[in-house]
Amino acid sequence: MQSTADAFEDLRKDFPVLNRRVRDDKKLVYFDNAATTQKPNQVIDAISDYYQNYNSNIHRAVHALAEESTEAFENTRDIVAKFLNIEDSREIIFVRGTTEGINLVAYAWGRDNVKEGDIIVTTEYEHHSNIVPWQLLTQEKKAQLKYIDIDDNGELMLDQLDDYLSTGKVKLVTFSHMSNVLGTISPVEKIVSKCKNAGVKVLIDAAQSVPHMKVNLNEIGCDFFVFSGHKMLGPTGVGVLWAKKEILEKMSPFLGGGDMIREVHKYETTWNDLPYKFEAGTPNIADVIGFAKAIEYLEKIGMDNIRNHELELTKYALEEMKKIPGLTLYGTKEPEKRGGVISFNFNDVHPHDVGTIIDKDGVAIRSGHHCAQVLMEKLNVSATNRASFYIYNTKEEIDVLIAALQNVAKVFKL
């Protein structure tokens, strides 16, 4: 019988890009999965198939192609709903990505519900996409934006949430399910239950969690949930916003235009039903169809297996990286509390230099502030290096990273 590690190794053949060589004929070691993942043939082929065989706009025309494309598009909605354990697929809104999903909520829900003096709570380890929309909203409404700080272990200090909630002014608590820099997995249950007790709405930025672990939205009990397809084998330009039907029905629309209307007259319009009310204009049909194949691919492997595979890789990488003198690791030391994301600095060598040097050995990591400058300020660094893993990565690749890091020490005479 094939071992689990072999099974994961075996799926590499589905990803054409993993076979390519980079720089001086080096094998590509792709560790920038938190930014975007590679795509399997199943996804690429589904997109080609759409364009080659049934390209057509959806929802309107009655011809054969339109019927096929509409069915394939709407089929993805059902697949997403099942994947997240949601009963009503009308609660799934397709957006461009997590950023657009959060902006949609800030604009459409936030503008109707947040008033002067109200509080929106976010955290210190958010991506800019879960900070800036709230800055725009709170500035416009003269409301306040507050942060849950992180402790030395990179975990949220939930006492502060209690303090904010006790003011009675909090309208929304918005946080990432998993930090894109530290990998910390947020204590979702605790946060949601505190908020529910206080009657406060909760938004979860799941861009880093949904691709890597089983998520049961029926159990989580949040109000808004947002993630991106391209971080989970899917194409770019497809994301999902899920919200409870009662909330979506009351919300004002986001973008106005075609498909989101029921009837348009010269001076007034009535809105279409969910989910179309929030999907103005021709959507990203091909990529939504491709996204379905990505979810099917992940489900075939099993989300729990994926989580275990990444946990194994993360444990191994942390062990090996600890042995390198002068290497600073950020975030919790307990692998179980984090995803497959490791941020580090190497002595005082700037992450961009580390990134460039190890790139010569074919290792692709991310160097920079990871769109998390508030967190960088907290960590008192301008940037970090980040290696992030996915289903196709192996321990041998981590060995290549470690060897490449030793080159950095040589170049900088550390």
Partner: protein, 149 residues
Amino acid sequence: MSGDPIYTEMIIEYSRNPSNFGKIDNAHIHQHDANPLCGDTIDLYLNIDDNKISEVKFDGHGCAICMACCSVLTEMIKGKTLDDVKKFDKDELLSELGLEHLVKTSPVRIKCALLSLKSLKFGIYSYFVDKMKDSESAGNLNEEAANLY
């Protein structure tokens, strides 16, 4: 890695021990700039006496390329007249560090290399326009700076 054309002895040395590193209080020109890509930030300080750059310093955080280029740029412009500095172009700076190839080979890292020069050009432009009210001398330095990379 020893053959890497970016990380030469000179660049490593400059990044470890940058020249003219520090601050000038109440400098005639103080220009702050950042590279949104990687979060590099620099502050460039210049004093102008008799139409010459009498004093120059910089501080900030950046990668080895950014720090080395800041160091070399400040060394190269010290004592020069403003007219000379206005004409200063990117090839002069890059060739001093053997980094000319970055223009072609690394559209990403060229931004690290030229952040200093961009700040210099913007700084001098603002000096002429805002302080000296002399937009003629400022010329199109702002456009040059904006189109540097």
